[in-house]
Amino acid sequence: VAAVTLSGLLLAPTMGGAAFPAAVALLAANRNPQKRRTILSVLAALVCAASLGAIPIGAVATAASGKTAVALTLAVITAVAALWCWSRYLPRLPAIRHPLALLHGSAVLAVVALGISCRGGALSIEKAALCAALIPELLWRASYWIKWRLRQPGDKGAAENLFTVIPFLGRGGVPYGKGPEYLTRYEASDASERAAAQIRGIGLLLLALAWRLVSALIVARVHGGAQPWFGWSFSPASSPLLPSMSALLDAPLSYPLSLRWAALFSELVQNILTLAAYGHTIVAIYSLAGFCIPRNTSAPLLASTVLDFWARYYFYFKELLMDFFFFPVYLRCSRLPGIARTLVATFAAAFAGNVYYHLFLYAPEWMQAGGRQFGSMALLRCVYCALLAAGLGWSIGRASRRAERRPPWQQAMGILGAAMFFALLHIWNYHEGEASLAERWEVLQSLFMWD
């Protein structure tokens, strides 16, 4: 009880109005471990309803009104209910040979229909964009759900696992904890495991608070900016030590070479801290509920290869790409020689899958008149994903030829190389809508030009 009360207090700054139902449900879930999943499903519905009014939808940037939030909640409930009914009868419908393809085809059609309705004036831009923003939130969770249902005999456990489909933790559509099957592997089975999971959860929440504090301090004292830490801002340094990424994109050559590189690495560290704090909060909630799932971000700056960095940086996104793109392609290309097979699968996941995932996120931009922003964001994402795929492919090629143990100096060079690769890659990932490809290319060039 003490742990969960404390967790409620720690969650309040992160989850706002949803923290109270979350804390109560976590308390209830821990008192009734047998009904843990059912209680979490109720919590998911409550939190989802409480937070749907503030979906970030890029350029539309309109927080939904109370009426729209209710409509969105109803849309989510309808979608989840439809999915549940469909998946309930899925094993009995042999005619549907590729249910995942059907789901994704329907999602693409829904986005296209929303775009056409919006352009034709049948639907307002705001409503169309909000509906389009909901699709990726549900799509990947539903994909894991269908995968799980296809492997389940009968329809046991469908209702109690609905929390894995409801988008109640985080935004962007990446399902932390994947699906019901994965959660089962990490579920606490007795009181001592439950206690260990809760202590881990509290630790992760405290770590998330600490990383947010460090990130706010870096922004204020190093870059001279302002980033609130739960409503409290540090006074910005009058003469910043390093330029921010925005300043670098505006005029890269107005800073010395050493500062340009230092700013790039500082941006990478800040990006990692932000992602780690975000992921730790979500993983902490699962841990507090008794699911001791792996961390999303786990010391990526200690990785000595690009491949290892990618796995440690954003674990659940990497898993999504592995599960839905890499692995299926790898299995189907069994006639290709080893390295070619791996490279084809890497390209399918890191480039094709990654672009596909992001196109759904950018769909609200497409609803805008002209859709110019959508085009530039999609192009930028293609460049980013192509570079990522190339880096991962190169890393896999090297890893398959290399011995397990490396001398310390090689390890150190590997760590520096992996961090440098992702720092340079981040130039193409920084705030998609804010700078053009040409501006980013200028920053990249400036890093290799003497003052």
């Binding site: 491949l307 290892d308 796995a311």
Partner: protein, 77 residues
Amino acid sequence: VTRPDDPEAHLLEFLDSLRPARKDSGDPLAQLDSLGILQLVTYLETTYGMNLAKCRVEPDDLRSLAGILGIIARYSA
């Protein structure tokens, strides 16, 4: 394809060859990364002549010894 007499011992030997530096850690699959999973898939395909694409196998199935032995028992016939 020549099937090993003792699939479990053969599999453990293969897993040890993937991670020679971590032989002492209890679970041979505990530290297996994405690349290790790929090597494991190739091992199953070449050693048992399986076509895993038709077996509805998920990457997570390959993260436990029991899961892999189950796949061998089901699909290597």
